[in-house]
Amino acid sequence: MGVEAREARQPWILLSPALVAITLLLFVPLGFILVYSFWLRTATGADVAGFHLDNWAEALTDRFYRDILLNTLKIAAITTVVCAVAGYPAAYFIARSNRNKGFLLLLLMLPFWVSYIIRTMSWINILGVSGALNSLLLWMGLIDEPLAMLYNEATVILGLVHFLMPFMILNVFVSVDGIDQNLESAANSLGATRVQTFISVTLPLSLPGLAAGGLLCFVLAAGTYITPLVLGGPRDAMFANLVFEAIITQLNWPLGSALSLMLLAVLGALVLVYNHFLGMAQLMKGMG
């Protein structure tokens, strides 16, 4: 057997554990979910098998689901934009600082290693009526009454931004780090100011990283349910909460399956669009 025949076979050997694992543990189970979405839940909580379109009809026609899905996409979008706007300069700073790149990136990962629930609940101690920020403002005399800052859409977004910021920064960092600084110098030398250089050279060239980070933030934000539970007010539910409630609280797995497939379809479509324009390879690159 020639070297090339071997080279053609080897990648499949190498890929097989991952593909087998993902097929067995993700795609086959998703097949179950697909089947389940056509079943029906009875009053006692048991499910009847069959081919019923009721769940899909409900999921697709009820305004309630559509509105919350749209609201979820809105929150995910805002989160993504905030991450991008806040994270970009930081990523740029890290990429362009000569020393400590590795250390700065590592620091960024630190909050990940405090349990997610605890981390999210900590905002209550920061933003609460008797939290740090209010105490500080009161002490400085800027306010007389503690401000009610918690439990609204803004705090949900805040929690999500905190969770997702590192993903954005990492992606943008890789992109900016890969831009030849001579390009900026060249633009400068041609008469562009720093701001003009940024807008006409740096920003467009880092778009792939920004897009990869954005996709990751968006997808992960659209799939969260704990953050809105902990930091949201009564109305701040997201689509994953609906899935969670259908499956866990109402034990309505058929409906939950239909709902989750709906979310999956929307996110999947987004990935396909992204893939078409920027390619998964960039997402890969972005994580380095």
């Binding site: 048991a46 609940m121 439990y151 949201g232 009564p234 866990i248």
Partner: protein
């Protein structure tokens, strides 16, 4: 059958118990599991859950026999499990300690499972009204009762549990209806909407309830008696009041179908032993299901809210399982929507 399969009957060398974590499971381990294993040689594998609904979904997605005993929330969960065909049949003769239990607590289960029982009652409590005494006086509470949760003056300082039963129960009280037999659901939904719009937040756990009150994010909410007691113990100036027809409930130790019955029954007996019950009760601040007339419950338990020294529990209103479970699918979904602003 694949070699991975572990037969339920063959697993009698261990019994699986699931319950609440923290102090509760510590107490169980010390007072029930370890002595039980020492005596019988049967291991107790204990797990925890964060909520009953989550546990039920796990059970539903598992093999029969995968789970054995669970510390569940009272009567309607019992009915739900029975409805899903998960109820077992206990041989009461194997649980001599059952005799210490308040009979009223046991009797509510019998009609659901045709006279037999699949669980033993373990503790009880109430979901009453908790309020910050700095901002709301006892008198005002007495005067307004459940309606305090709809009081415009406390807008943004009100909270509530995100549980649909509790919401409907309190809405029944607020609309002057019988919580176990409401007739005007529209009024109830309207009350729930009003409450939602006044609320800062729906809490989902005891930890959240306590921190909301302790940090004065809110002044009034319903609350679990044991949690409020814990806050008072820590010195917070929080009041607790069961309004008329306040929400009483009990918790039980439920044995799932497919479990090794003799071992489970023996374990239940251990857990019902007064010292175990009392330790757990003191840990979570809910009175045990033991009849104070038959057992000496020590010093702390009589001070717990909802405690009934008579052992008749005449002052508490419990939920009617048939009524609640009959509407579960419909109401939980409807509440889900209202909760989200619809």
């Amino acid at each position: 059958r694949t070699p991975f399969v572990r037969e339920a009957r063959a697993a009698a060398s261990e019994v699986r118990f699931d319950g609440w974590g923290g102090v509760v499971s510590e107490a169980f381990r010390e007072y029930a599991f370890d002595p039980y294993t020492e005596k019988t040689g049967v291991k107790v594998v204990d797990g925890t859950f964060g909520g009953g609904d989550e546990y039920l979904s796990r059970v539903k997605a598992s093999q029969p026999g995968g789970y054995n005993i669970a510390h569940l929330s009272g009567v309607f969960d019992y009915a739900r499990y029975a409805g899903l065909g998960l109820a077992s049949e206990l041989n009461e003769d194997n649980i001599p300690n059952l005799k210490y239990v308040i009979p009223k607590l046991v009797d509510v289960f019998r009609p659901i499972t045709g006279g037999k029982i699949s669980c033993v009652p373990y503790d009880y409590g109430t979901t009453g009204l908790a309020f910050n005494r700095k901002h709301i006086s006892e008198d005002e509470m007495k005067e307004k009762g459940a309606k305090i949760l709809l009081d415009e003056t406390y807008k943004g300082k009100i909270a509530g549990w995100s549980d649909w039963r509790t919401r409907i129960w309190y809405a029944s009280l607020q609309t002057g209806q019988d919580p176990n037999n409401a007739t005007d659901m529209d009024a109830i939904w309207e009350a729930i909407r009003t409450h939602r719009d006044l609320s800062l937040k729906y809490w989902t756990s005891g930890a959240e309830l306590m921190s909301l009150l302790a940090e004065e994010e809110i002044y009034v909410t319903e609350g679990w008696s044991g949690r409020i007691y814990a806050l008072q113990e820590q010195g917070h100036d929080i009041g607790y009041m069961d309004p008329p027809n306040g929400f009483g409930w009990q918790e039980c130790l439920f044995v799932l179908k497919g479990s090794p019955m003799p071992e489970c029954e023996e374990l239940l007996n251990f857990m019902l032993a007064p010292e175990t019950s009392i330790a757990v009760a003191e840990g979570q601040n809910y009175p045990p299901a033991l009849d104070p007339q038959k057992v000496d419950l020590g010093k702390k338990i009589p001070t717990l809210p909802a405690f009934d020294p008579t052992g008749t529990l005449a002052g508490l209103t419990f939920a009617d399982p048939e009524y609640w479970n009959g509407h579960e699918a419909e109401w939980s979904k409807e509440f889900g929507r209202i909760q989200k602003g619809y």
